[in-house]
């Protein structure tokens, strides 16, 4: 059910928030907070997807499905992800990022990664696994975010 657009659902607000969340993700990774780095990296992508989608159609369905938000974005942006590098990174984000990561402890996050089954072959203990995964999510989010930024600039020329 679509809801009226509130302050946090305004494209300009979401655009600014996306950049701030990505910067916060980098800071969290710098402090070895792998759970928060992963959560914030994905959140920055989600914020920007919502900004792009709501700029076209101002209805927010309040769900956290990256694919659903991508489907509402301009086609020109979606097409920029259609490279081997773009598809691979998008796939990783959809597979690993969850909105409820913010509720997770380090142990729960490690459990999440183990359940996904994507951490085979990583040497080291739990911290090494979380670091590896968080860095990949952060790199993927940065990649997609750059594409989103170009799309946003095309949508909102100043």
């Amino acid at each position: 059910m679509a809801k009226p657009v509130g302050l946090s659902h305004r494209p300009n607000v979401l655009f600014a928030a996306s950049a701030e969340r990505l910067a916060a993700a980098v800071r969290a990774a710098g402090g070895s907070d792998w759970v928060m780095a992963t959560y914030l990296a994905g959140l920055s992508v989600e914020c920007m997807l919502q900004a792009l989608a709501l700029h076209l159609v101002p209805t927010h369905d309040a769900r956290h499905d990256l694919s659903a938000w991508l489907s509402k974005c301009p086609r020109s942006f979606r097409d920029t992800l259609l490279t081997q590098a773009g598809c691979e990174r998008w796939n990783l984000l959809v597979a690993v990022w969850r909105n409820d990561l913010r509720y997770q402890s380090r142990a729960a996050f490690l459990g999440h990664l183990r359940r996904l089954g994507i951490i085979r072959g990583i040497k080291g203990g739990g911290d090494a696994i979380m670091r590896y995964s968080a860095k990949r999510v952060l790199e993927s989010a940065s990649f997609v975010h750059r594409k989103e930024l170009f799309a946003w600039q095309r949508l909102t020329p100043s």
Partner: protein, 105 residues
């Protein structure tokens, strides 16, 4: 004549075992975006999954049909289990085994 989305689903079902899918089909925009789930993607890297998926698509769809294809994530059943839209539950399970739906937040 089959529509592109019908042909795509038929093709994906043929090429990937126990396929489930969540595709957003926009006929006005001629666009298909979303994700597919198959145990075939277990133990595959994301690069390998995308390579396999795009090999299938480019081998069987013509240029006009490929125009419809947007980013489609390829997920293992374990990855799909925690997605918010309920694709976690398999259509059929062995007798006596319970399935759980993902918690919604």
């Amino acid at each position: 004549m089959a529509t592109v989305d019908t042909k795509l689903v038929r093709l994906l079902r043929r090429e990937f075992s126990d396929l489930r899918r969540h595709l957003h089909i926009d006929r006005r925009d001629q666009s298909i975006v979303g994700y597919i789930v198959s145990p075939d993607f277990n133990r595959m890297t994301y690069a390998e999954r995308q390579k396999r998926l795009w090999n299938v698509l480019t081998r069987h769809l013509d240029e006009a049909e490929m125009h419809w294809i947007g980013p489609i994530a390829a997920l293992s059943p374990a990855e799909a289990e925690t997605l918010p839209d309920g694709l976690a539950t398999p259509r059929s399970t062995p007798r006596g085994r319970k399935t759980s739906r993902p918690s919604k937040r």
